[in-house]
Symmetry: C2
Subunit: 156 residues, 2 copies
Amino acid sequence: MSDNNQLFKLKDLRGRLSEHNYKMTPQRQEILKVFIENSNGSHLSTEEVYELLRKKDFDFGLATIYRNVELLNSLGILTRIDFGDGRTRYELNNANPRIHQHHHLICLSCKKVIEFEEDLLDNLEEFIARKSDFQIVNHEVKFFGYCSECRNKVTN
Amino acid sequence: MSDNNQLFKLKDLRGRLSEHNYKMTPQRQEILKVFIENSNGSHLSTEEVYELLRKKDFDFGLATIYRNVELLNSLGILTRIDFGDGRTRYELNNANPRIHQHHHLICLSCKKVIEFEEDLLDNLEEFIARKSDFQIVNHEVKFFGYCSECRNKVTN
DNA sequence: TTATTTGCAAAGTCTTTGCAAGCAG
DNA sequence: CTGCTTGCAAAGACTTTGCAAATAA
């Protein structure tokens, strides 16, 4: 019932950065803050992060955003996702591996992305790992179809 | 044990095109041919299709390839896939829905893409459909990890 | 014949990069 | 201080589009 399930915390940023010899900067702090403030199932593109920051009067260069979301992704703080709409998106990583995974339902009609908050893929992962001799560390699952709203709209 | 499982056939192309008031052209025929000839688990980008055609002395414009793979995708003959490497890829669709689905295992070390030829997601799909009131028509599943070769190479 | 399709080049979108100036540690 | 980081503008990679010429039906 908590607002979020152990998301990466702002106060841990400096530490995580210095572990890898990166420096703490206002840019990095504010970028992460945007993801924390929007951690309710949003998938932000670089441009969107840029705009959200501008609304808060932080006028960082776009290139800085590009560099830093990729950095945060490489540190495991954010996760890259791609919905095939031509831009890379990121979401705040859930720090707890037990509840880490969720799936995305993408409506082919209205393009809405719905989160499905359970994983249920452990068995399949295990099966694949065994059968293909492949060590799985992560997965990305998208379901395409039609949301209830769109199904009720048209009798197509 | 057959070479491929009911892939879309070249001879059906003209019919499928005319159903939607598209015309049969040598370009469309040869593009589909490339996918049929490479239907053993390859995921061709537009550029790769272009190059494969050039090797066969078909010098079509790149824009024509772009337009037609997207057309074949819209007709359900090809399927778009995105491995996050910055280019859109396509694979020949399996015409038999029973054996339609497979998954992709992507090695984070050597970037190799391995096909996993079983689906096993019916139960999960059904569960999601019921729980989220979402009508699923397709899915795309990627597993990220390390292939056996790469695991044996480095003790990282 | 006539609407589609092609090929080319130009334009578009998203992303990366080089480099001087700025800043964190 | 010193090396990492930023911001800008330029360059890059992939994809789309406008338009005249070619072509399938």
